[in-house]
């Protein structure tokens, strides 16, 4: 029988906010053993949606250039 202590550090965004480290975005994050809470910050959902929109527009521009 194996007994383990599993420590998970979970960050959860406040209502109306999303967590980000400027590369990934999520409502909740389980920190890796080499990561720190200070590396993550909250942005509003509106800001997040704007970032998504900008990323998609950039992708569309890139893909149009391919044609």
């Amino acid at each position: 029988m194996i007994t383990e202590n599993i420590n998970l550090i979970k960050l959860t965004a406040s209502d109306g906010y999303v967590l980000t480290n400027d590369e990934a975005y999520s409502k909740e994050v389980y920190l890796g053993c080499n990561d720190k809470a200070e590396n993550w910050r909250e942005i509003t959902e509106a800001e997040y949606n704007e970032i998504l929109k900008q990323q998609e527009e950039e992708m569309e521009r890139e893909n149009e250039n391919i044609h």
Partner: protein, 247 residues
């Protein structure tokens, strides 16, 4: 007037020609097939000499009826190979959906083992099922399956063992992707935030993550809310103890 009727008027061998009409037709069709595919695949009668397959099967003209390659496909470059710009919501689009079945019907293989570039291979396509993809010669899989919204299964994605490949928007908007098996190592940020992966697929990914414990390296694995809900605490612990943040 059929070919047989026409040839009756002009040939002493009309009976023989009429009996062979179908054979003549089939021979003509085969000749055109050979000519087309020899040209497209740089065929020499025994094999394809084409290595640059950039965009070769992209566009709406290709479907499961006419995708009948004559030779094995062995690309060195495969950017946008099956890109389709599929019009979502259009119910009448009939593109290449089940690639393994198409290849089997054509009697050929699609061998990516020498391929060095996979940018947008199935970008915006209506593909549903892909077989084995050997990406070990490539440094990145950027946008490889970008917005392939019908894609539900990738039988096996073979990565390098050194975890150096990058995954920029590789699975972005793959909203149907449930089944994927990895071999090799995932060493950089990777995101499946839009994909309803099964637990089996998630564990294949977890197993493939490079182990950065004992270093100060950190990377992020992004999974959809649906898939995260399937994970056990043990799965989450494995991810985080390997130095990966689960987002």
């Amino acid at each position: 007037m059929s070919i047989a009727e026409k040839t009756t008027l002009i040939s002493a061998n009309n009976t023989t020609i009429a009996e062979n009409e179908q054979k003549v037709y089939n021979a003509g069709k085969k000749s055109q097939y050979d000519e087309f595919w020899d040209c497209l695949q740089y065929g020499d009668g025994t094999k394809s000499n084409r290595k640059d397959y950039i965009g070769v099967f992209s566009g709406r003209g290709w479907n499961e009826e006419n995708f009948l390659p004559k030779y094995n496909i062995t690309p060195i470059k495969a950017d946008h190979l099956f890109r389709n710009d599929f019009e979502w919501g259009s119910s009448d689009y009939n593109g290449i959906k089940d690639l393994p079945t198409c290849l089997e019907r054509a009697g050929v293989a699609l061998d990516f083992s020498q391929c060095t570039s996979f940018a947008g291979v199935w970008c915006f396509s209506c593909i549903e099922h892909i077989g084995v993809i050997d990406t070990q010669k490539s440094t990145s899989l950027n946008q490889t399956f970008y917005s392939a919204q019908n894609l539900h299964t990738i039988d096996e994605l073979q990565l390098k063992e050194n975890g150096t490949q990058s995954f920029g928007y590789t699975f972005y908007n793959c909203t149907a992707l449930a089944n994927i098996t990895f071999t090799g190592k995932i060493g950089k940020d990777i995101a499946f935030g839009d994909s309803p992966l099964t637990l089996k697929s998630a564990r294949s990914i977890i197993n493939a993550l490079c182990d950065y414990s004992g270093t100060d390296t950190t990377h992020t694995l992004t999974l959809s809310t649906t898939t995260k809900a399937l994970l056990s605490d043990g799965d989450r612990a494995t991810i985080t103890q390997k130095g990966w943040t689960l987002a």
